[in-house]
């Protein structure tokens, strides 16, 4: 019994870690669908958003409900700047060129975040619940953090809101049209530039949510931007263009990583977590390159 409970605990912890990966991967998918840009800077955007929020609260002492809209404003301004200064000039370039441009963007954001707000580890406390769930710990000796459950709820709500936004609103339809076919969307009068600003803003807001949750958990610091790299295997598993794929992929990677760490780690010396996700993705690529929910790419000669 005790063993089963332990297994369950590992799985639940993995699932909740997976939610975090999924949150980051979600931002990737949004941008990739709408503009075909693989946004490497998504992880740094999380860092930047969390830094800005923590910085505003620290410097001005304003409460979270003032600072959060302000940060959202900053992220929207950032999206506009990125479109204006970078993307607009790179239309019609190879995807790989755009990818490298976002690596450059990641450096710029990282450096500016550090210069503006300082590079020390920041504590982000906007009043999210913390500590273990007492009831489960008392009755079943089962350890789960409140924050992680909260993150799962937030992720669920976020996905719900995004789904409604994409299916029901006018802008959402335009976004889906652009994702389907740039040319056709342009010809029915959808402005690509506006759409890009919107989609980068949405990705910025998703980054803020992910950044806040991660930041509350382990402090706002540079390592936050590294989860962007973890989101890559998540995307490969889920498919680059699928929002449900990002969620499911995130969960699989999260659980797989924790299970591998617990059961395989002791055999080979630990720290399997560092590379397990990539190897899993690599193995997966050989079997099903388009991912679980991705669109199959058919090459014509």
């Amino acid at each position: 019994m005790a063993f089963d409970l332990f297994l369950l605990e590992v799985i639940v912890t993995g699932l909740l870690a997976g939610v975090m990966y999924a949150l980051v991967a979600l931002g990737f998918v949004l941008i990739f669908k709408a503009s075909g840009v693989f946004n490497f800077a998504q992880g740094v955007m999380c860092l930047f958003a969390a830094l800005t929020l923590a910085g505003i609260m620290e410097k001005t002492g304003w409460p979270a409900w003032v600072a959060i809209p302000l940060t959202i404003g900053v992220m929207i301004a950032l999206a506009w700047l990125i479109e204006r200064l970078v993307l607009r000039h790179l239309i019609n370039q190879d995807p790989i060129i755009l990818f490298m441009a976002t690596i450059g963007l990641a450096y710029v954001l990282e450096g500016s975040g550090d210069i503006i707000w300082g590079s020390d580890v920041k504590v982000l406390d906007i009043g999210l619940p913390q500590g273990a769930v007492d009831w489960l710990l008392d009755t079943h000796n089962f350890y789960i953090e409140k924050l992680e459950i909260f993150a799962a709820v937030i992720a669920a709500v976020l996905v719900g809101v995004l789904a409604i936004f994409f299916q029901k609103t006018r802008i959402g339809r335009a976004l889906r049209a652009v994702a389907d076919d740039h040319q056709a969307a342009l010809s029915v009068g959808i402005s690509l530039r506006t759409i890009w600003v919107i989609v980068w803003s949405v990705a910025g807001i998703v980054a803020l949510v992910a950044g806040v949750v991660w930041g509350t958990k382990s402090g706002v610091q540079f390592s936050l931007s590294l989860i962007a790299l973890k989101a890559l295997p998540v995307l490969i598993l889920g498919g680059f263009t699928s929002i449900p794929g990002a969620i499911v992929g995130g969960l699989i990677i999260g659980v797989g990583e924790k299970l591998a760490e617990v059961y395989m780690g002791p055999l080979v010396g630990g720290a399997v977590e560092n590379w397990f996700a990539y190897m899993l993705a690599l193995a997966f690529l050989l079997i099903r390159p388009q991912g679980l929910f991705g669109e199959k790419i058919i090459e014509r000669v």
């Binding site: 990818f99 450059g104 450096y107 450096g111």
Partner: protein, 358 residues
């Protein structure tokens, strides 16, 4: 005015197919080589050697290797640092297992070892490309570094987990270890870099090189005209890893002297080299040198300028460097996607017509 090929007639095929068919190019190379071999030693001291010239040469070699893969064959790789690590650890094991072995042979064998590992991680490239391949090479990055951290055999069970280079000689001159003189180290790196650069220049214009470029430009079309993708891609991975592995052996053995996997071969290192290739110019030998020089010297110049002349704090100037490098990459991708090498080419074309551009 001076750069024109008027009056340079080729009377046989050997002349026509020379590496540098234009006389001015040839003289330029002789002058650069002369400066590198004869003039550089005159100003050589510990600072110039260890902080500027030797790392520049080593990074050029590694950037050249990555350029084969990314610039010539079109396969993106984010795992360069891991392949450098393979070269470093191979050279470390060889140096400690066979103390009498000449360091030149150690470097070459390390390169070959890395080529094998590179081919192994290049296998997925036969099925996937683009971002997917980038993730596959990320797997190499994280897995190999983890391996070098965990398996104690690789660092000879040392307590710190570090590897440090013992003293070894190349052609009777000590080139590694703490007591080797900067001058020997510099000459050793220079010889290796010059020879490999010339060899690479020849390889890329030969049959293999042309098949790489065919794959890069359009893989399906290349397959139709008879280029075998398996051979082309794997040979690109092997050749590129060979150069990167040799660079890694020099990086650890000659330059650093001691290394620890997560510090010296992190993912940042991989990006740094990718940037050298992009800024220098994808698909250009000259570009690898220009990019390595630019990205290696830029932080030094910026640091000197901002800290010493403007009196800014070190932390601020470090962040500023990150921003400037990032911005430069974006600017290069927008303005001149073919990098510094292309700028040099444009300059040469302009010079041919100068002073009468019409």
């Amino acid at each position: 005015m001076f750069y024109r090929e008027t009056g340079q007639f080729k009377t046989n095929y050997a002349d026509d197919q020379a590496i540098f068919p234009i006389a001015q190019d040839r003289w330029g190379i002789y002058i650069i080589l002369g400066l590198a071999f004869l003039a550089a030693p005159l100003i050589m001291d510990d600072y110039w050697g260890n902080a500027i010239l030797i790392p520049f040469l080593i990074y050029s070699l590694i950037a050249l290797g990555l350029n084969i893969l990314v610039g010539y064959c079109g396969q993106i790789s984010l795992g360069t640092a891991a392949f450098m690590a393979v070269g470093s650890y191979a050279s470390f094991k060889l140096m400690t297992s066979f103390p009498g072995l000449d360091f030149t042979i150690v470097v070459i064998l390390s390169g070959l070892m890395t080529a094998l590992v590179g081919m192994m991680f290049g296998l997925p490239s036969l099925r996937i490309k683009g971002f997917y391949l980038a993730v596959a090479t990320l797997a190499a990055q994280f897995f190999l570094i983890w391996l070098f951290n965990k398996v104690e055999w690789f660092y000879n069970y040392s307590a710190t987990g570090q590897i440090s280079a013992p003293e070894r000689t190349a052609f009777m001159f000590p080139v590694t270890g703490p007591s080797a003189s900067v001058l020997y180290k510099y000459y050793f790196c220079l010889c290796i870099v010059v020879i490999t650069a010339l060899a690479t220049k020849n390889v890329v214009r030969g049959r293999i090189g042309r098949s790489w470029m065919a794959i890069r430009d359009m893989d399906i079309a290349a397959e139709l005209i008879g280029v075998r993708p398996v051979y082309a891609k794997l040979s690109a991975f092997a050749f590129s890893s060979f150069l990167i592995g040799m660079g890694g052996a020099l990086y650890f053995g000659v330059w650093l002297g001691a290394a620890e996997p997560t510090e010296a071969f992190g993912i940042d290192q991989s990006f740094q080299i990718l940037f050298m290739v992009i800024i220098g110019g994808l698909g250009s030998i000259l570009g690898a040198f220009l990019g390595a020089g630019f990205l290696w010297l830029l932080p030094i110049v910026l640091k000197n300028f901002m800290v010493d002349m403007l009196g800014l704090s070190t932390a601020f100037s470090e962040h500023m460097q990150v921003i400037i490098v990032g911005a430069l990459i974006i600017i290069f991708l927008i303005v001149e996607p073919h990098g510094l090498a292309r700028l040099w080419q444009i300059l040469k074309e302009k010079m041919r017509l100068w002073p009468f551009p019409h």
